[in-house]
């Protein structure tokens, strides 16, 4: 789960990372009031989770409260990569002398929390990795010992932190590390970390991505989820305990198991169609769960056919078939449905599906082809 900049800064501030927090505003008037309290030049920043907000006009400087109000009016309501800006952060503008990148990631290849540092701050680290990989320090931390002083020194010397700021740098990296570990993060980055003209070290922008598997022990962080940037159908699915990701195609997919769900999407594409979603219904596949999955899929008006692919291992095929027939009876919109059930009790499932006039298939390739044909409609 990604956190907005102002939320990420809240967490870093709790761990002693020096930053100019600012205030969030959802109207131009609030932005003006915030700028008045700050009483100096401010930067107005769109709070969106998608990248590239600067280029999209989502970050603007303002010298006065009146300007802050005008800039906020331009930014609020702006469309940035399909997301409408609802909130801006109004923060004191800093006079930047030098910019750095400082981040921590869960590095799955190294199987370690790894410090990433670069003296080329202010640009995306992926960009630096492409253009100048030698400018990046990757420092895997011992997973049993955590961040040690020598790690901090090494990062500081790599970045060329001036001697008088080494203590300040140590507290930034320590704070970032404590925030990362304390929040069960996947990524925590400060970009840029700056030295100001007056010689202060400050985190000007921050991003934290949380490990979804760690959220159960952080209800306070779960509450920071931004539903404005989530598809409503994905919110509904999450609440129903269904793994769902909306895509742009016309063939809805309902599958048990994540790997098989991805494979089903791939085979729809291979058969000449486009998947409308990823959906893993999980184990069991009882009627109420199947019904919830169908409703979520059909909420998308682009869906012209549904492909159900269930491998009955523990789940019994006939139970799933009955669940599908029952759930279908509760639906408001009818689209052709291709059902493939294999594994345990697959034979017993067949008459149940046939009686309900569902299109059936034995192989996954065949099921995908039939779903693509059904989505095109008769004569399509």
């Amino acid at each position: 789960m990604k956190l907005q900049e102002y939320r990420s800064k809240e967490i870093l501030a709790r761990h002693g990372v020096p930053l100019l927090a600012g205030e969030v505003a959802t109207t131009p008037g609030e932005a003006r009031a915030a700028a008045e309290r700050i009483a100096g030049p401010v930067v107005v920043k769109a709070q969106v989770l998608v990248g590239g907000r600067g280029k999209a006009g989502g970050v603007k400087l303002a010298a006065t409260p009146a300007e802050a109000e005008a800039r906020a009016a331009e930014i609020i309501g702006l469309d940035i990569k399909g997301v409408t800006v609802k909130t801006v952060l109004v923060a004191p503008a800093a006079d930047i002398a030098k910019e750095f990148y400082l981040g921590l990631i869960l590095d799955r290849g190294a199987r370690a929390v790894t410090v990433i540092a670069s003296a080329e701050g202010g640009v995306e680290i992926e960009e630096t990795a492409r253009t100048n990989p030698g400018a990046i320090l990757r420092l895997p931390l011992d997973p049993l010992l955590g961040l040690q002083d020598h790690n901090v020194r090494r990062a500081g010397f790599f970045l060329g932190i001036p001697a008088e700021l080494r203590t300040a740098f140590a507290s930034v990296l320590r704070g970032l590390y404590d925030a990362f570990m304390g929040a069960d993060a996947d990524l925590a980055e400060i970009n840029p970390l700056v030295i100001t003209a007056s010689g202060e070290l400050l985190a000007l922008d921050a991003k934290i991505v949380l490990d979804d598997s760690g959220l159960f022990r952080h209800p306070d962080l779960e509450a920071m989820r931004d539903l404005n940037e989530e598809e409503p159908s994905e919110t509904a699915a999450r609440e129903a305990g269904i793994n769902f990701i909306k895509l742009d195609g016309s063939i809805g997919c309902m599958v048990n198991g994540a790997g098989l769900a991805m494979t089903t999407m791939d085979l729809v594409k291979l058969a000449g169609g486009e998947p409308a979603n990823f959906l893993d219904i999980g184990g069991g596949a009882k009627a109420d769960r199947v019904a919830a999955a169908f409703r979520i899929i059909l909420d998308d008006p682009n869906v012209q056919a549904i492909l159900v692919n269930i491998f009955g291992g523990i789940t019994r095929g006939d139970e799933v078939a009955r669940g599908i027939v029952e759930a279908r009876g509760m639906l408001e919109r009818e689209v052709p449905m291709v059902v493939r059930i294999v594994g345990t009790n697959a034979e017993e499932a067949k008459p149940i599906l046939a009686e309900a006039n569902l299109i059936t298939a034995d192989s996954l390739d065949d099921a995908a082809a039939k779903a693509v044909a059904a989505a095109r409609g008769p004569g399509g």
Partner: protein
């Protein structure tokens, strides 16, 4: 013969009295797995599975009294890291963790601790493994297998079953099928299992089922190019997955343009491994590679 588990496996099931633990333990017993003990704190002295399996309060007790040498874990995510550490502490040599949703930072500690102690960990978030006709540890349905000489390794659950079923239907039996798990940090990698299959005299060919995210498939491809001369076939799920989204499995995410299905497929093909467009094509690719 087989790898990792077999007739010599003496299994303790952690969480045997829970709903999942009890259900799958019964299926494992039915398959022929030698379950010597169950473990649920506070239920020591009871029995599970209609009196067939003694239950202990600690894994240490189970090991001391039954000689258990492997553990299978069915406990909730919050308790799973401690369960893995307890199993290692008690001295079993193999730990199979089925649990999904274990926090990654916990897994880092568990991963490195178990490695340092020489304890083999499979999972978490995995379906376990089956040495066909000998023992199954985990939740892979026993009835989809046929005995044979093809080893299979996969990051997935039901997709694994799909491929195993396709192989069985094509008359192509399996030696051992291993689900290594869909999390970013798992105990045993593709390369680890490929190395075991490569050394196993009863495994003559290998199937690898990967998916988007991370670079373990790429590392495995490099290993195969160097070390493996047995015929291979592969499948990679997630060609249509959008970047930046977790596709159900915590580890299935394309991040910063890395971990795509194309990159994995290219790496495997560069290593001379045939990659199928559909799981149903795996048996045919194995036949092309010389497997009968």
């Amino acid at each position: 013969m087989s790898i990792l588990v077999g007739r010599e496996t003496r299994l303790v099931v952690q969480g045997i009295t829970g709903r999942e633990g009890a259900f799958h333990s019964a299926a494992m017993l039915e398959y022929g797995t030698n379950i010597v003990a169950g473990m649920t704190p506070g239920k020591g002295g009871q029995t599970a599975l209609d009196g067939r399996v003694p239950v202990f309060d600690t894994v240490a007790d189970a090991v001391a009294q039954t000689g258990a040498n492997a553990s299978c874990i069915f406990v909730p995510a919050a308790a799973a890291p401690d369960a893995m550490l307890e199993a290692a502490d008690a001295g079993v040599s193999l730990v199979v963790c089925i649990t999904e949703g274990v926090p990654a930072l916990d897994m880092l500690r568990v991963y490195h601790t178990l490695r340092a102690r020489g304890v083999r960990l499979i999972g978490p978030n995995c379906p376990g493994l089956t040495s066909v006709g000998e023992a199954k540890v985990g939740i892979i349905p026993g009835n989809i297998h046929a005995p044979g000489t093809v080893g299979l390794v996969s990051r997935s659950g039901t997709l694994t079953y799909e491929v195993v079923q396709a192989m069985t239907d094509a008359g192509m039996g399996q030696s051992t099928c291993v689900g290594i798990g869909g999390d970013p940090i798992v105990g045993t990698s593709f390369t680890d299992v490929l190395d075991l299959f490569n050394r196993d005299p009863d495994t003559e060919a290998i199937v690898m089922i990967g998916e988007i995210g991370g670079d373990e498939e790429e590392k495995a491809a490099a290993f195969c190019a160097r070390e493996v001369r047995k015929p291979m076939a592969a499948f990679i799920a997630g060609r249509t997955a959008p970047p930046g989204r977790r596709m159900g499995h915590a580890g299935a995410i394309i991040s910063g343009g890395a971990g795509t299905a194309e990159s994995k497929r290219a790496a495997l093909e560069a290593a001379g491994i045939r990659v199928a467009d559909s799981p149903s094509r795996i048996p045919a690719l194995l036949r092309d590679a010389g497997v009968r």
